[in-house]
């Protein structure tokens, strides 16, 4: 089976087509629930983001520790729903018992997930919830609204009563995580979309060089600001480069908790970042998969794996950890 699927993958790669002509029998070879052996498939958004690399490594290690089979596939880029659908189909074909997926969009892969669940596969969302949330059996994720809220609350506290004048550098227009963080930040700082206190806003797709360019252009429009929201750490690095080139030191927050990001906070590039815990998501997801294979029991609902502010300038009323703790618990290359 494995050899054949490998052959099939190679063939697919060579032909650069996705449809593999091995006979399809949906779930035909999947072990029935409760038979004991867990086969876990992980579908991440991309293979290149250190966050998803961490998720994959943690899931792989957890699977090994608990004696489960493990395979990982990914989309090719952020927003590659199609690639994720193919990954789900491939996994069902290969008889996995549980699929752990970080959906590229909360609605983009629902049909494929439904087909997998009909075939008896348990599907758990990691990191990003689906919409509706019950399209999957359970979700292990950071509450991104809460993460955004913490960034907003920190910035508000650090402004110390000054009226906010914020530039917001968002991620990809229309992405779920992006919307949640954006809305959470506004909630935390006490603003609404369209408020004149938001002096500039743009999307940078989480890309450092784009973020730098967008920030440069926004700063050209006006340098009258006292706070910057960024949706992730590469964005914050790009924004910092643009600010630094103008000799501006502005209070900036971010979200992610990658080791490079924590180091940036330590170096004073930005004041705070909100750390999330991909390793925990992966470990709990795999544990649930093993439980399901042994007992047929499924988890349900949204399980928040938590997030915490990392800063060396703690603010009263905003719980946080310092960068030393951050560097011990960050994800990616230390």
């Amino acid at each position: 089976m494995r050899q054949r699927s490998l052959l099939c993958l190679v063939t697919a790669g060579l032909l650069a087509v996705s449809g593999c002509t091995v006979e399809r029998h949906w779930g035909g070879s999947s072990a029935p629930a409760g038979s004991g052996q867990a086969k876990v498939g992980l579908v991440t958004k991309t293979e290149t983001n250190p966050y998803f690399v961490e998720l994959r490594n943690a899931a792989s290690a957890a699977a090994q520790a608990q004696g489960a089979e493990f395979m990982a596939l990914a989309g090719q880029f952020d927003g590659d729903n199609d690639g994720q659908v193919r990954a789900i189909e491939n996994m069902v074909q290969q008889g996995v018992t549980t699929i752990l997926i970080t959906p590229n969009s909360s609605t983009g892969v629902l049909a494929a997930i439904a087909r997998a669940r009909q075939a008896g596969v348990m599907v758990i969302a990691l990191d990003t919830a689906t919409d509706p949330a019950d399209a999957v059996d359970a979700t292990y994720a950071t509450d991104n609204v809460a993460a955004g809220r913490q960034q907003g609350a920190y910035v508000k506290a650090a402004l110390g009563g000054a009226a906010p004048k914020v530039i917001m550098i968002d991620g990809t227009a229309g992405s779920t995580v992006d919307t949640y963080r954006h809305n959470g930040f506004l909630e935390g700082i006490g603003l609404r979309d369209g408020d004149p206190a938001i002096v500039g806003r743009d999307n940078a797709n989480g890309d450092q060089s784009i973020a730098q360019q967008k920030m440069e252009n926004l700063l050209q429009r006006s340098t009258d600001l006292n706070a910057v929201y960024t949706m992730n750490e590469p964005t914050a690095r790009g924004a910092y480069a643009a600010l630094q080139a103008r000799g501006l030191r502005i209070l900036m927050g971010s979200i992610d908790g990658g080791c490079q990001g924590v180091q940036n906070v330590r170096d004073g590039q930005y004041a705070a970042t909100v750390m999330q815990f991909p390793r925990k998501m992966a470990e709990e997801g795999v544990a649930a998969a093993v439980r399901y294979a042994k007992t047929g029991q499924k988890p349900s609902g949204f399980i928040d794996t938590g997030s915490v502010v990392i800063t060396d300038r703690p603010m009263p009323g905003v719980p946080s950890q310092d960068t030393t703790w951050g560097l011990q618990n960050c994800w990616g290359t230390k």
């Binding site: 650069a16 991309t46 293979e47 290149t48 983001n49 250190p50 998803f52 690399v53 090719q76 880029f77 952020d78 227009a173 743009d202 999307n203 890309d207 450092q208 060089s209 730098q212 360019q213 967008k214 440069e216 252009n217 926004l218 050209q220 429009r221 006006s222 590469p234 690095r237 790009g238 480069a241 080139a245 490079q260 990616g332 290359t333």
Partner: protein, 327 residues
């Protein structure tokens, strides 16, 4: 421009055909004037310098792309080759290789890739679109494999990031070494294309390969040389990219290939080969960044900016078509 040597006044269309960089230059001037009048912030030395800086990476990719498109080819793999080179350079540097050597090795890799593309196009007679589409896929994956899921930051004071260094000319004009290098490259390529036999061969091969062959031009050799030179340029684009952002990221410049084609097309170079100019491309690259900068300062949402850029590409080719029809 006087037309005294010509018997009849040439039509506007013919004039545009003779000097393909005129149209984009006018468009650029119009855009700059409009934004200078409509915002108080656009016409500042710092901002104009920034706009140039923002266009360097795509402008360098587009320079190589221009050469290839002049031969009626196209390169979809240029940005992927560049990103791969940034990762190789950064990895080597972090691994203790001297910056100069890392740079040379990175440029050699993209040059070798150009050689491979050129050979496949001429020897195996594969369409450039197909070859570079395949390479694009492979190189994107290769960059991600090299990166192993991590962007590679480099020291901002290292030689690899040196092009980002800002100097002030005449006491106030901010210029980076990257701008100087780009200008030198454009001048060298302009000279090579317009003042040397090689340049005439490139245009001839793009215009009518069969006629070029009959007149004794070594068509295949010319085409391979174009891909090789373009490959060298894409390696230098990697250096420009590290000067701009000293962090080699496998996810950066995902649309760099299309952005470079956009600049070439806006610059009035024909996708059918044999007609165009490097200075047109320079204008094309600048038009895109000028639009983004100006529209941002006017408070236009970036998605509408994308709509405007796309419309402009179609309009540019339409104008070009109409000009030819007048003839």
């Amino acid at each position: 421009m006087t037309a005294s040597t010509v018997e009849r006044r040439e039509s506007l269309g013919e004039f545009f055909l003779r000097a393909p960089a005129i149209g984009p230059a006018l468009a650029l001037v119009v855009a700059v004037v409009v934004f200078s009048l409509s915002t108080s912030t656009f016409l500042e030395l710092d901002n104009l310098s920034l706009v140039v800086e923002q266009s360097l990476v795509v402008g360098t990719l587009a320079l190589g792309q221009t050469l290839i498109i002049l031969t009626a080819g196209i390169d979809l793999s240029n940005a992927a080759a560049m990103v791969l080179a940034t990762l190789l350079m950064a990895k080597l540097l972090v691994g203790g290789v001297p910056g100069g050597l890392a740079l040379i090795l990175g440029v050699l890799v993209t040059a070798a890739l150009g050689l491979v593309t050129g050979s496949l196009v001429t020897r195996v007679k594969l369409p450039p679109f197909i070859v570079t589409l395949g390479l694009f896929t492979m190189l994107t994956a290769a960059a991600k494999l090299v990166a192993d899921g991590q962007a590679v930051p480099i020291a901002p004071d290292s030689l690899l990031a040196w092009l980002g260094t800002r100097r002030y000319l005449f006491g106030g004009i901010p210029v980076t070494y990257g701008m100087t290098l780009a200008l030198v490259m454009y001048l060298v390529l302009w000279y090579a294309l317009t003042r040397t036999a090689w340049g005439k061969h490139v245009y001839a091969v793009g215009n009518a390969p069969e006629a070029a062959r009959l007149s004794g031009i070594k068509v295949n050799r010319t085409i391979v040389s174009v891909y090789l030179v373009a490959g060298l340029i894409f390696g230098i684009a990697a250096w420009q990219a590290l000067g701009r952002v000293p962090n080699a990221d496998p996810n950066a410049y995902q649309l760099g290939n299309l952005d470079s084609i956009t600049a070439v097309v806006l610059g009035g170079t024909s996708l059918f080969g044999g007609r165009g100019s490097v200075f047109g491309t320079m204008m094309g690259a600048l038009i895109v960044t000028v639009l983004r900068s100006g529209l941002t300062q006017l408070g236009v949402d970036s998605l509408y900016q994308d709509v405007a850029t796309g419309a402009l590409v179609i309009a540019a080719v339409a104008v070009d078509r109409l000009a030819r029809r007048q003839k």
